[in-house]
Amino acid sequence: MDVSAPFRDPGISRLIVGKIAGIAGELDDRVKIMDFCGTHEWTITHYGIRSLMPENVELVAGPGCPVCITPGYYVDVAVKLAMEGVRVFTFGDVYRLPGSSKGAPRNLEEARSEGADVRIVYSVADAVKLSSDGKESVFLAVGFETTAPATLSPIYRGAVPDNLSFIVVHRLTPPITKYVLENYPQSPIRGIIAPGHVSAITGAAEWKFVAEDYGIPVVVSGFEPVDILLSILEILRQVRDGRAELVNEYSRVVRWEGNLRAKGIMRSTCEVVEAGWRGIGFVPESGLRLRKGYSRYDALVRYGVPELSKEAWLEDLPPGCRCAEVTLGMAKPADCPLFRKVCTPERPYGPCMVSSEGTCLIWAKYGGDELLRGLREEFEPT
C-alpha cells in the first residue's frame, strides 16, 4: 500500500488549484510564500507547481539546502585532512562541494583524484562499520535537524570506534528562518511552508514563533504535490482572513512534539552555538557543537584545527556566485549571470549547483520558470 498515493492524485490537485485561484482573486496584493526546504523546492519545480499559481502568488525557495550553506571552511579542513592521509567519509551531495580556498584541491572529489582516501557513504552506520579496520577516519557531517540524530545517535550510544571522529556542521532551521524574517523585512514573506522531515524531529510546535511573533501563516507540509498545494491554499486562506496560525498538514508523519528520543540525543551530545552559514554569515543559536564530554569524537579537537570563528569569517562564495541571495529568497537562479553558462550541473561553480537540493541545480535540471506544460494541462482546473 502506498500511504501517500492520494497526495499525488491529479483530481484532488486540480480541485485545490481551482480554490487557490479563487482565493487569490479576492486578494488585492501580491503574496510571496517561502518554501523552506530543498525537497519542497524539488516538488514545486518538478511538478511545475509555480506555473499553476495565480499571477499574484509567488513561491520563493528558502535556505533549505544544508549542503549549500555549509561554509567552505569545513570542506577545506576535510580536504586538508584527506591530503594528509586521513580517510574522509561523507554523503554524496558533499563530494563535489567547493571549499573556500583558491588553491587545489577545491573539493573532496579532486582530493580523491589526487590519491586521497575519500568515501561516499549512504549512512553514518556505513562509516562506523568501515572504520572497524582501525584507520584514522573523519566524517564530514552536514545536514539539518533531520540528519543530526543520525550522526549523534551512534556517538551517544558509544558505538563509534576510537579512530573515527566527526566534523560536525549540523545546522538548525528555525533560527535561520527567524534570521531571514528579522533581516530582510524589505522582502515581505506572507507565508512559510515549513520543512516536513526537519519537523519530524523537531516537532511541528517548533514553528509556532512564525505565526505568533511575526504574524505570518506557517504550514508544516509533506512532499507530495497535494501536500504542497494544500499548504499554499491554507496560507492564502489565512492571508485573506487576516489570520496567522501554525497548521500541521503533514500530520501523518510529523507529531506536534517531534521525535523526543532524537531531540534528547541532540541535547545530551551537543550545545547550541552561534554558527556560520555559507554566504550568509554567523547566525545566533543555529549550529550544533559536540559537548566537552564527547570531544574525543570531534575531529577539530582531535586534529587541533580551530573552529570557524566569527572574527575569521570570510566571504566564501566563489566570485560572482549569487547563491546567498538565492538561498535567502532574494534572487532566482536565472538572475545569476553564470547560471547554466559558467555554472552547470555537470560543472558546478557555486554551492547551490552541487546538491540535489540546491535551488540552482533543481532549476537547471527541472526548469524553474520554464514550465512543465504537460502537468500544467493535467492539473489545470476544468
Partner: protein, 74 residues
C-alpha cells in the same frame, strides 16, 4: 538531503529494522523510533526518523476535502 524515503517494516531485531522499500529490502537503524513489523516509516540516511500513520493520512485528505467543500459553499 532531507529526503525521507517511505517504507514498511518487515522485521525488527535489536536496534535494526528490515524495511521494505517497494520490494527492495534494507536494514536500517531503528534506535530513534519504537517500531513493529507492519509499521509504515520514513527513513532518512539509513535511520528511521518517524512512523507514517495511514489512518491519519486518510483523515487528512478527508478533512481537507471537507474544507474545500465548505469553501465551495461560502
Amino acid at each position: 538531503m532531507c529526503l525521507g524515503i517511505p517504507g514498511k517494516v518487515v522485521e525488527v531485531r535489536d536496534r535494526i529494522a528490515v524495511v521494505d522499500f517497494g520490494g527492495v529490502l534494507r536494514e536500517v537503524d531503528a534506535t530513534l523510533e519504537e517500531v513493529n513489523p507492519g509499521d509504515y516509516v520514513i527513513v532518512h540516511v539509513g535511520v528511521i526518523i518517524s512512523k507514517m500513520d495511514p489512518e491519519t493520512a486518510r483523515e487528512t485528505i478527508e478533512a481537507w476535502e471537507e474544507m474545500i467543500r465548505t469553501l465551495e459553499e461560502s
